[in-house]
């Protein structure tokens, strides 16, 4: 089975500025793939190249084994796409939009739209001009999912959704994965990526900064260790230890960041009278920010 998405040296230039540069990406069939990065990093450019809305400056992209440019109609037949920003015809209802898109896809009915609308608590019969920001986003999700495509490409899918609906959406994503479908999810909301994605690519200034399983990324996170002693201790003792950074001392408390094993820290602490030891595991946000910290970039 070919990769769901494969890009080779994919590059897009906007004049002298590079949107993405030599991007190599492989998304396996049946996985939920997170594509994360701050605004302007190149996430949307990559997605628009996959959809053939933009044409690459160089390199190529294949989607479901098909050339994203030359065979774009066949590619789009098998894709459900939610753009990061989209407009809706304010006079139409959601039902009319889905029916229209269904006809363009050769479907007679509304497919899974009524079921999705019920789960997302969306009224398909209201004119879309009367819908709130969140409900318009739900329309976007329904139109991406209603024809049950083998590949879903979702650009910032939870924007505008309330937390309950975000939970429902993430559940729908998991169910789609369980059905063997592939989900390519671009986001800067890292908590949702952490909750649902099997692998994560981090893009920085148009280039791939990291491509790991979510678990591996989380294991790379730097723990914050706080040590409380019975009396003040010399903090420089800890600063010299391997894998330790950001050591600070306040009274009888020493805190530090650690991205190697804790054994050396515990042994050093044991030379004094230790009252308490606590370890905090940062979220994926902090891992992500680590890639953007110029003073300590992670090896890619």
């Amino acid at each position: 089975m070919p990769p769901a998405i494969l890009t080779e040296k994919l590059t897009k230039a906007y004049g002298s500025r590079l949107g993405i540069e030599a991007l190599d990406l492989e998304v396996a069939p049946g996985e939920v793939f997170g594509f994360i990065g701050p605004n302007g990093a190149g996430k949307t450019t990559t997605i628009r190249l996959l959809l053939d809305l933009l044409h690459p400056t160089s390199g190529r992209a294949r989607v479901l084994g098909l050339d994203a440019h030359r065979e774009s109609v066949a590619v789009r037949r098998n894709i459900g796409y939610l753009p990061g920003e989209f407009g809706l015809d304010v006079r139409m209802t959601g039902r009319q939009l889905i029916h229209h898109f269904g006809r363009l896809r050769g479907l007679d009915g509304l497919g899974a739209a009524p079921w999705l609308a019920a789960r997302l608590d969306l009224d398909l019969d209201l004119p879309m001009g009367r819908l709130s920001r969140g409900n318009r986003q739900k329309i976007g999700l329904v139109q991406a999912l209603f024809h049950r495509p083998p590949l879903l490409i979702l650009d910032e899918p939870t924007t505008g959704l309330d937390p309950l609906v975000q939970d429902t959406f993430l559940q729908i994503v998991r169910e789609a994965r369980d059905e063997g479908r592939t989900i390519f999810l671009s986001s800067h909301v890292l908590s949702e990526v952490e909750r649902v994605c099997d692998r994560v690519a981090i893009v920085r200034s148009g280039r791939l900064a990291a491509l790991e399983t979510t678990q591996t990324l989380l294991e790379k996170r730097r723990k914050r260790v706080t040590l409380e002693f019975s009396e003040p201790v010399d903090a420089s003792l800890f600063a010299r230890l391997p894998g330790v950074s950001d050591v600070c001392s306040r009274g009888t408390t020493v805190s530090l960041r650690l991205h190697d094993g804790i054994d050396a820290v515990v042994k050093a602490a044991a030379q004094h009278s230790l009252l308490d030891l606590s370890i905090e595991h940062p979220t994926l946000d902090e891992v992500f920010l680590g890639y953007y910290e110029e003073r300590q970039p992670w090896q890619v």
Binding site: T44, R48, L51, L53, L54, H55, V73, A74, R76, R77, I79, G80, Y81, P83, G84, E85, F86, G87, L88, D89, R91, M92, H100, F101, R103, L104, R105, G140, Q143, A144
Partner: protein, 266 residues
């Protein structure tokens, strides 16, 4: 065949959303046509006397009318060859501008093109929507204008009225196709209306001035209004119609080619 199905689905969808504007345009122009027909009995004598006393340039500008003025001459001079071909192209220019650039500005093009549609179908569907909307407006205009004739006690040939309105159809469609081309080239809906609008007005001014100025007369050939002829008087411009339709095909083909090659932005 599958391509034509896609085009038809798009055209049908766009026409449904354009029914109201088509009816409004048709009724508005038809009401004006009916007004001109109703005015004819009282205006014909006045106009005849005016033409006898008017300066030579003005007589030329009015088409060199002589003797009793007929309803066909009156309608051609005031309505069919003057008002409709200047006003109606703006209806299709709006459709052409909205087909691509308008959708891009409203951010609805991404969703549409996420469906399995080749881009050329969006262009052809835009042209199809223009052609059918235009035909709808002209039919309503023709019917209302013709209905007014017996009420006003005027004998108006339905065949000639139909031919005259049919001759306007490709002319309007040409300006619509230019709007479609600009719309396919750049993501500015206002420019897609303004550029063909300026061409339309320039052609109208050239054709009008050329009738009274020997200096400008050689330029008249570039104006589509010149080639419109006098179809209401039995002079249907077959050659011009076919050439204009060929121009529509070329401009639309160019629009398809440029739209297929360009990037679409949000």
């Amino acid at each position: 065949m599958a391509g034509l199905t896609g085009v038809w689905i798009l055209v049908a969808h766009q026409l449904r959303s354009r029914v109201r504007s088509t009816v409004i345009w048709g009724v508005a122009l038809g009401a004006l046509g009916a007004l001109y027909v109703a005015l004819f009995p009282s205006m014909s004598g006045l106009l005849e006397r005016y033409m006898e006393e008017a300066p030579q340039e003005m007589q030329q500008y009015m088409g060199g009318l002589q003797g009793p003025i007929t309803i066909e001459q009156w309608l051609g001079m005031e309505f069919i060859n003057a008002l409709i071909p200047v006003a109606l192209p703006f209806l299709v220019m709006v459709i052409g501008a909205r087909a691509i650039a308008g959708r891009e500005e409203r951010k609805t093009l991404d969703l549409l093109l996420s469906n399995p549609l080749p881009r050329w179908q969006v262009v052809v569907a835009g042209l199809g929507t223009m052609a059918v909307s235009l035909a709808g407006v002209l039919v309503i205009t023709g019917v209302l204008t013709y209905i007014a004739a017996p009420v006003a006690g005027v004998a108006l040939s339905p065949g000639r009225l139909t031919a005259a309105l049919a001759a306007i159809w490709p002319l309007c469609l040409f300006f619509g196709s230019v709007a479609l081309l600009v719309s396919a080239l750049i993501r500015r809906g206002a420019l897609a209306i303004a550029i063909p609008g300026v061409i339309l007005v320039a052609m109208y001014v050239i054709d009008s001035l050329a009738q009274i100025s020997k200096t400008i007369e050689p330029l008249r050939v570039v104006s589509l209004f010149y080639h419109l002829g006098q179809p209401l008087e039995g002079d249907f411009p077959w050659t011009a119609t076919l050439l204009i339709l060929a121009g529509v095909c070329i401009v639309t083909g160019t629009a398809m080619a440029v739209f297929a090659r360009r990037d679409i932005y949000t």
